[in-house]
Amino acid sequence: MKKVYNKILSIVGNVISVRARGVSNEELAEVKTKRGTSLAKVIKISNDLVSLQVFAGSRGISTDDEVRFLGRAMKVSFSDAMLGRIFNGSGEPMDKGPALSENLIEIGGPSVNPSKRIIPKRMIRTNIPMIDVFNSLVVSQKLPIFSISGEPYNELLARIALQAEVDMIILGGIGLKFDEYMYFRDELEKGGALSRSIFFMHTAADPVVEGLMVPDLCLSVAEQFALKGKDVLVLLTDMTNFADSMKEIAITMEQVPSNRGYPGDLYSQLASRYEKAVDFEGAGSLTILAVTTMPGDDVTHPVPDNTGYITEGQFYLRNGRIEPFGSLSRLKQQVNKDTREDHRAIMDGMIQLYAQYMETEEKRSMGFRMSTWDKKLLKYGALFEKQMMDLSVNISLEDALDQGWKILAECFESDEAGFRTELIRKFWPAGKDKEEKAKEEPSDDPTEEDISEEPVPETEAGEPAEKVKKKKGRTADKKKRRKA
């Protein structure tokens, strides 16, 4: 039984209200205007006054336009026929293919029982050393790419999608520019992955609220495929746009904002999406990579901040590279002990040396004298950036580890890089091993960083902050202390 109303009482922002009875919370409705038909969702009911959020936006809606309640919540069709297809933010086809209506599933379903979850243990190889070696990606992980606009985050997403060994890719665009959308399509097509991909595209030209459903559409469909045994990778770009749409609705509904205009439930809203990432025991899995652009390059902005509290680490993309500092895969320790015995040592050792390089670089720029050790570090830093950090480097984990030893051997004597003797014996490139030298090198080991050779920690975390932030932190600390 469909109910039709044609007296819209108020239109504020993208929210309209009508008087209606028998309507259920989060029910879907169609609003028919001269421009066409848009979906709308019930977001609040007070007696017979029903507020709806209109996905196509309220522009052009007339008070006597027709509102037809559909008697159901938002659903999306789920079938293999979706593969290779492109849909919009309301789940309608954007390509020339037919609309799909069989096997409808509700979006935003219940959450997984925590006691059914398993400890993730399968690594996803990307052939990007900054990921595979230093912050391994793991099946069922939820991980954002923190970035500022202008960084090649979509290129990075596309590349991971193509190189990751997954069964399926679901791409959700939220406020995506048209050329970015085309870029994804072309890349996946070139890589031969289009036929195992599904797109839900909300572009920057579409009404803002229409982007709100994209994550749920992607994740609900992905969840179904995962239950059917597929390893699904969901790419969401850009989640900051998603949060901004929520902010818009919240302000329209006159909710009290908590922080910079964002609603108090921003955390819960984001979490209910990200927590969809899962590895189903005995079935498939769902992994989420999402772009979160940081307004003003500020990681304490509510969107990246809340995201960081939810996700299992983050990749910082800066100057076209994945930053070793601040980037973190919280799940890496689940997988990097079974790859190669030198993996963890290279991961820790190279980063610690790179941190020392950064310090030396700072000293150098301040005009302090450079010691022999400092000069070695400078050489090391340059090689590390070029042969490891550069995003064009495309090699397997094993090759990257070998590359690491080569860089080390080019810059240091085998006993000054801070590695365990047994590893050096096994991996230090032949001919570069330290020759018996009568004269000892002057020890310039800075005391700042900890180079514990023994035993390598089972796991480790956030790397030394990048300089700027470190300094900020210090002055802030100082200030507080003075106050205390």
Binding site: R21, G22, V23, S24, N25, E27, K44, I45, S46, N47, D48, G108, G109, P110, S111, V112, N113, P114, S115, R117, I118, I119, P120, S140, L227, V256, S258, D265, Y267, A271, S272, E275, T300, H301, D305, G308, I310, E312, G313, L331, Q333, A355, P442, S443, T447, D450, S452, P457, E458, A461, G462, E463, P464, A465, K469, G473, R474, D477, K480, R481
Partner: protein
């Protein structure tokens, strides 16, 4: 209840509904929204103009104006009785593994399962006898629950004096059977069973007095036990930005803390983190009892994607279960991760009630709620003369990592110890990232406070020198100052920092801490004379490396003694 009081929904706003009612409604009573087969648990949180405002502990998708609501007259309660230990509950005490068994991967809406199996038989041994005078909380007997004697007590809502009329003989009983009959002053009979309900938002106070916490609660984390200790029955908080190590620190504490029972409240954070505990604890051995760690653990799991209102309830559920076991004379530790998510749940609700918002939109009563929560901790003397304690440690997740925010500030006002995690330390991988210069405690620990203070002084001095060096460079620093700096770095890297993932280093018991501290203290207060900074640096570098190695060696082994001799020899090489 023959005549159930009914009402019907008049408005829906997120997880809050307005309900019109005919007769009467009790503030904070539980109501059920009836949708088809589903019964959605809700709680009355405000009453005005013949309208009850209820928060719904489930998602409200599909609810309609006019849907019926059944009022129960009971406050939100949990079941207390044997069988709680090693359980994994959601915020409302629904057993998650049982739900999984019945419903599979996903959490169904509107289902309630028994928190404890009331058909299971427990072996009861009476301790009270006919004619005894008993009060609320007095034990009448016990049953073995894992490694504990689970006391069967006079329900906590019975005020005044009672006389035991009869106690069941030793034998097997289930939770529905009467194990004792007691008489009140008027001679009225009251049946005592092995389980009863208790409203979660009301503290259990069946003790004779509350005492000042003085006995250290050893966590085996050096920086905590030595520098910022917590006492049994005390409170502490761990604020820190994301990734600073709050959860890992709590996980370590949940494993190694010297208490009888640990209750983990996973409140609004990642489900994946609970899974680690859930899957690993059954396999891990509790060093004290040699039994599985799970036997002393209860997990209350209301992670971030589970309903928000139930998240609000989950910390109360955890504390109520904790208070219950405290009544048995046990030492209980509650670890809540994260109290900020609980505060946010309150904020969401407050917003829907259109209350006047305070700072960052948190409700005005945020502070008093936080204070009430931590107030439920305590070291208490029980009616039978024994003592029990409940310690509460909560993490705080401040927005932007900035401690100048309402939840952190309100928490700092009430807790006894502050373990502030710093981004700078976690970024430099100095774990646990507790900032030694910002953190504080009101409790006394296992080490002579005068010495701790003097060691702490070195850290401050070292930090000052470091700040100065960043401006004038090493060249402009005097050698004496430089040695201060090296000493503080030494203390930091071999004592404050601790490898939580190494089986030996992660667990530093008091004996070892005292031993190590004395050794390091001697180094800190030895006058070293170096000719050049490089000599000093080399000396401390080597000393640090040796001490780190020492940290990884089990105490009481030959190897340990050998390393110690090396260290002594190294120190002697300078002082001699």
């Amino acid at each position: 209840m023959a005549n159930k009081l009914l009402g019907h929904i008049t408005a829906i706003n997120g997880n809050m509904i307005e309900v019109a009612f005919e007769e009467s409604v009790v503030q904070n009573e539980v109501g059920y929204v009836l949708v088809g087969e589903e019964r959605l648990k809700s709680e009355v949180i405000k009453i005005a103009d013949n309208t009850a405002y209820l928060q719904v502990y489930e998602i409200t998708k599909g609810l309609k104006v006019g849907d019926e609501v059944e009022f129960t007259g009971e406050l939100l309660s949990v079941t207390l009785g044997p069988g709680i230990l090693s359980q994994v509950y959601d915020g409302l005490q629904n057993p998650l593994p049982a739900l999984a068994e019945k419903y599979g991967f996903f959490l169904p809406r509107g289902v309630v399962l028994d928190a404890v199996d009331d058909t299971k038989k427990w072996h009861f041994t009476p301790t009270a006898k006919k004619g005894d005078t008993v009060y609320k909380g007095s034990p009448v007997g016990w049953v073995p629950e894992g490694i504990f004697q689970h006391k069967i007590m006079v329900p906590f809502d019975l005020e005044g004096e009672y006389t035991v009329a009869s106690v069941a003989k030793e034998g097997d009983y289930d939770l529905r059977e009467t194990v004792a009959v007691i008489l009140d002053a008027k001679g009225e009979e009251i049946k005592v069973r092995m389980s009863f309900e208790w409203p979660v938002k009301i503290p259990i106070k069946a003790y004779t007095r509350k005492m000042v916490p003085t006995e250290p609660m050893v966590t085996k984390v050096r920086i905590v036990d030595t520098f910022f200790p917590v006492c049994k029955g005390g409170t502490y908080c761990i604020p820190g930005p994301f990734g600073a190590g709050k959860t890992v620190l709590q996980q370590l504490t949940s494993r190694y803390a010297d208490v009888d029972i640990v209750i983990l409240a996973a409140c609004g954070e990642r489900a994946g983190e609970v899974v680690e505990t859930l899957r690993e604890f059954p396999e891990l051995e509790d060093p004290r009892t040699k039994k599985s760690l799970m036997e002393r653990t209860v997990i209350i799991c209301n992670t971030s994607s589970m309903p928000v209102a139930a998240r609000e309830a989950s910390v109360y559920t955890a504390t109520t279960l904790g208070e219950y076991y405290r009544q048995m004379g046990l030492d209980v530790l509650i670890l809540a991760d994260s109290t900020s998510r609980w505060a946010q749940a309150m904020r969401e609700l407050s917003g829907r009630l259109e209350e006047i918002p305070g700072e960052e939109a948190f409700p005005a009563y945020l502070e008093s709620r936080i204070a009430e929560f931590y107030e439920r901790s305590g070291y208490v003397e029980l009616p039978d003369g024994s003592f029990g304690s409940m310690t509460i440690g909560g993490t705080v997740s401040p927005a932007g990592g900035n401690f100048e925010e309402p939840v952190t500030q309100a928490t700092l006002k009430v807790v006894g110890a502050f373990h502030g995690l710093s981004r700078a330390r976690s970024d430099a991988r100095k774990f646990p990232a507790i900032d030694p210069l910002e953190s504080w405690t009101k409790y006394k620990g296992i080490i002579d406070p005068a010495k701790v203070l003097k060691a702490h002084h070195i850290l401050q001095r070292g930090n000052e020198v470091h700040q100065m060096m960043m401006v004038v460079g090493e060249e402009g620093t005097s050698i004496d100052d430089f040695v201060y700096y090296l000493k503080s770095e030494y203390l930091d890297s071999v004592y404050l920092q601790q490898n939580g993932f190494d089986p030996v280093d992660a667990v530093s018991d008091p004996e070892r801490q005292k031993y190590m501290f004395d050794k390091i203290y001697d180094v800190l207060y030895t006058d070293f004379h170096f000719d050049a900074k490089d000599d000093a640096r080399r000396f401390f570098n080597d000393l640090r490396q040796m001490t780190l190695d020492w940290n990884y060696i089990r105490m009481g082994t030959d190897e340990f003694d050998k390393k110690e001799k090396d260290i002594d020899r190294h120190i002697g090489s300078i002082t001699a």
